[in-house]
């Protein structure tokens, strides 16, 4: 069976904008993603080396904010929702399948290394920049935050700046 077409991008954007607006109206905060990865990381470190989290300032601050339960975080619930929502969408549109996506011109291990390293950079950058494409750039733009818009321009500007050097990964 062929997978169905993607939604018209403007329509999808319009729906996404309404969702973001509703989120801000109801909860007073925007959407996000990287925050949940942070919660996950803290939870993992806490469970395997709890003495370490008591000594390090980063974990200490984070755990104090979350009453010692790093997973009791709005974004964790939201991201669980994202997984469910994306799964439902994939199910409806016939896109559920274990696949490994890469440009045919590169080897599997190149793509693995690139995905791993790209994720690492994004994870790190999102911590430094206080949010990722959703939490800082998109939500920041919605509330016209100066920092959010700077981050947005830096993400896209940075990507364009570096795109040339990594063109072999994609083209």
């Amino acid at each position: 069976m062929n997978s169905t077409k993607y939604m018209n991008p403007y329509l999808a954007g319009f729906f996404l904008g309404l969702l973001l607006l509703g989120t801000i109206y109801i909860t007073g905060r925007g959407l996000g993603a990287s925050g949940a990865i942070k919660s996950g990381t803290v939870a993992v470190v806490q469970s395997i080396a709890s003495s370490h989290t008591e000594q390090s300032k980063f974990y200490e601050e984070y755990l104090a904010e979350h009453q010692n339960n790093p997973l009791k975080n709005w974004l964790v619930f939201e991201v669980i929702g994202v997984i469910i929502g994306a799964f439902i969408s994939g199910l409806i549109s016939n896109r559920l399948k274990f696949t490994f996506e890469r440009s045919p011109k590169i080897q599997v291990r190149t793509r693995v290394a690139a995905a791993l390293f790209g994720g690492l950079l994004f994870g790190f950058g999102a911590q430094l920049g206080r949010g990722c494409t959703s939490g800082a750039a998109l939500s920041g733009m919605a509330v016209l935050s100066t920092g959010g818009i700077i981050t947005m321009m830096a993400i896209f500007g940075g990507a364009y700046m570096f795109a040339y050097f990594f063109r072999k990964l994609w083209l």
């Binding site: 996000g32 929502g85 795109a163």
Partner: protein, 396 residues
């Protein structure tokens, strides 16, 4: 008035709300095609600008919505999360994320979305981002000074640029529309054939038109708070506005009677309020009446709100403002606090009393002039510091 959290939706229920918002978020991202890295990075090589289209349409829609809600007083902008600005970390963090984007082909939200439908490369990306967070966490003492440098606080872009919110919103909308147009041309050139899907059909024209109209209206119409404050500057308007009042005698009686159904909203300055204030009164400035903290107090059920200021005109203005904001039956103090002081607190028995009714009134005032100052004194220690609503913590 928004946001609904934490008053209407509690913090626990908010987690359930988060789950449903997430479901919608994931569904839309996947439907838009954000679950494939080839499509995501397309905008950096010119062959597929889907991400730009979805991202900017969403950003502009939400931004205009927030502007409009704030404009019509439906959301308290002081309570919603505005991403704080730390210049260097925003810039450098952003560049690193940009690099991560072209190397890894995802961003955190889209990687979760792609992993949910079985993309193995996305799962590897997520694993990588765990390590990224770990490196930041472990190296936090090293990065902390950069992380916290150049703190500009919760600033908003139009203030930074020194323009009005409406103008910025309009410019941003215009830039987005231009970008949609220009990138379609680039895309067609790169792919060597026009993308039939993105011909400017009626819907785009409609949506763009709608966005423009909203943007323009936000640009031309003054803010609702500004409009109201301007209206009450006009004295003849204020004096002809139909609004109920309460006499100093009645107010004095209700204060002495410890009448729980009235609530006094004092719009004088906070300093004056601290110096002398009537029992059971709360201090709000005229501007604060637009905030959610005021809404919380004024909408308490079965309470009549008496608006007071030094003079009658200002008291009247405050009550009118409350009426315009939709609060039920606000009243103002006739003659203002000055009259109240003269007639009640500093009451002097006149030498000549004509009628019996007058005699009753004077007797009451004499009693009130002894009782109320004592109540005021007692109340001084009981002034409850106003509960400041805190900005909601958000962000990643």
């Amino acid at each position: 008035m928004g946001p609904l959290v934490p008053d209407i939706i509690g913090n626990e229920l908010n987690f359930v709300v988060a789950l449903f918002i997430g479901i919608a978020f994931g569904f839309i991202l996947e439907q838009a095609g954000f679950s494939t890295s080839q499509k995501l990075v397309g905008l950096f090589y010119g062959y597929d600008f889907t991400v730009l289209r979805v991202f900017f349409t969403a950003g502009v829609t939400a931004m205009l919505g927030v502007v409009a809600l704030g404009h019509f007083g439906l959301i308290d902008i002081n309570l919603i999360y505005i991403n704080p600005t730390f210049l260097w970390s925003a810039l450098i963090g952003g560049f690193i994320m940009g690099l991560g984007f072209v190397v890894g082909g995802f961003c955190p939200g889209t990687s979760v979305c792609a992993a949910a439908i079985g993309k193995i490369d996305a799962m590897i990306f997520i694993l990588g981002s765990f390590f990224g967070v770990l490196i930041f966490a472990e190296g936090y003492p090293i990065f902390e000074s950069l992380y916290k440098a150049e703190n500009w606080g919760y600033v908003r872009i139009f203030d930074t640029l020194g323009m009005s919110q409406g103008l910025f919103a309009f410019l941003l909308t215009a830039v987005a529309v231009l970008a949609f147009w220009a990138t379609t041309i680039v895309e067609n050139k790169v792919n060597g054939k026009p993308n039939m899907e993105f011909r400017p059909v009626k819907m785009y024209v409609g949506l763009t038109g709608l966005a423009f109209i909203i943007g323009l209206s936000a640009f031309f119409l003054p803010d609702i708070s500004e409009a109201y404050l301007n209206e009450i500057k006009n004295e003849s308007y204020v004096n002809s506005y139909e609004i109920k009042s309460i006499t100093p005698d009645e107010l004095a009686f209700r204060i002495m009677d410890n009448d729980k159904s009235i609530q006094i909203i004092d719009v004088r300055s906070a300093e004056e309020f601290k110096k002398m204030s009537l029992p059971k009164s709360l201090s709000f400035s005229m501007n604060e009446l637009f905030n959610k903290s005021a809404e919380r107090v004024i909408t308490v059920k079965h309470k009549r709100n008496v608006f007071i200021a030094d003079d009658e005109l200002t008291s009247r203005k405050a009550a009118i403002l409350a009426d315009k904001l939709g609060y039920v039956e606000p009243v103002f103090l006739k003659g203002g606090l000055n009259e109240f002081k003269k007639e009640i607190l500093e009451f002097k028995m006149p030498e000549e009393i004509k009628t019996r009714r007058e005699a009753d009134t004077y007797r009451f005032r004499e009693k009130a002039s002894k009782v109320i100052p004592v109540l005021i004194e007692q109340n001084k220690n009981k002034i409850i510091p106003k509960k400041e609503s805190k900005r909601i913590i958000g962000g990643c």
